[in-house]
């Protein structure tokens, strides 16, 4: 496999036009590597634990009135949820490619990839807007019942994460435009990408939990 990779420059920056390196060497370099800052991982794991508790609370309360939760879930459109899952998965792989592009100097496609990932994220917001509008048009506000309270709270917190993630993608886009990428830029890119992936990861569970559980 022929890969172009980074070479450190005298000031700690990396060249985007470095020659190929043996894949094995690269694997050794990344063994034991924390993607991004340790702090972002404390935040991510804490966030995941909070969401884990909310998943459990949702199912626990569902047990109090299974029929109500099933009827309410039946008024959602799984197609919206599935499209949003596809959009976030696709944005995630584009971010993976974008970070590879920034890190390894594989190409100058980073800005294009991050723009495409951003577009997928915006697509998610549009679908969510359509879905909320549809529910409110059908008189299904957060106060309708316990299911819809959970639905709006869980998807609302997730949407807040996603909007923060879009700002972070804009930051990634800015880094990817730099002529020279320094070690701090690489670390910041990995931290930002990890946050975006957790937005994807949480939705991957929220979709079946809210739309498909019966």
């Amino acid at each position: 496999m022929s890969l172009d990779t980074q070479l450190p420059l005298s000031d700690g920056a990396v060249s985007r036009t470095a020659p190929a390196e043996e894949p094995g060497t690269q694997m050794q370099r990344w063994a034991g590597h924390i993607p991004g800052e340790l702090g972002i991982w404390i935040f991510i794991l804490g966030d995941m634990c909070l969401y884990g508790a909310l998943f459990g609370a949702f199912l626990y309360d569902r047990g109090a009135d299974v029929d109500l939760f099933n009827r309410s879930a039946g008024s959602l459109h799984p197609t919206f949820g599935a499209i949003n899952t596809m959009l976030l998965l696709t944005s995630s792989i584009l971010v993976v490619y974008g970070v590879r592009s920034v890190r390894d100097g594989l190409s100058r496609r980073g800005p294009l990839l991050f723009r495409a990932a951003f577009a997928c994220g915006l697509g998610f917001v549009v679908v969510k807007y359509l879905e909320y509008s549809d529910l409110l048009r059908n008189d299904l506000p957060p106060t309708e019942n316990a299911f819809f309270t959970y639905y709006y709270v869980l998807t609302g917190i997730h949407l807040t994460h996603l909007l923060a993630g879009l700002c972070i993608l804009a930051f990634l886009l800015r880094i990817s435009r730099k002529a020279q990428i320094g070690p701090k830029d690489l670390r910041a890119s990995e931290s930002a990408a990890s946050f975006w992936h957790v937005v994807d990861l949480l939705w991957v569970v929220l979709f079946p939990l809210l739309y498909l559980v019966r």
Binding site: H33, I34, G63, T85, L89, R109, E190, H197, L201, P208
Partner: protein, 93 residues
């Protein structure tokens, strides 16, 4: 500009494909087309969802190459939350 295939030549690419296909299958199962047994369909769909989170961590978030405590912490979340969610679902109905 380097050819695009070099950029996508990573294990994350087939993982993305697998995640998209499994999402489509879950959607189909959950839309009352797959299994008559709703409980079995739910257990299957939720288990697949947590397997997907494990793959996202390992391949998209690059935890495959992370230090063991971080890798284990993340994978432990996937397993513990999956088991807890399924137990609550099965016990509470």
């Amino acid at each position: 500009m380097t050819a695009l295939p070099a950029l996508i030549r990573t294990p994350a690419t087939p993982v993305w494909f697998l995640l998209v296909v499994s999402t489509a299958v879950s959607w189909w199962l959950g839309a009352d087309h797959g299994l008559d047994d709703h409980q079995a369909a739910t257990v299957l769909v939720m288990t697949v969802a947590f397997m997907k989170t494990s793959f996202i961590g390992a391949y998209f978030m690059e935890l495959r190459h992370a230090p063991l405590p971080l890798k284990l912490g993340f994978q432990a979340w996937c397993v513990v939350v999956c088991v807890a969610v399924l137990l609550i679902y099965l016990v509470r109905g």
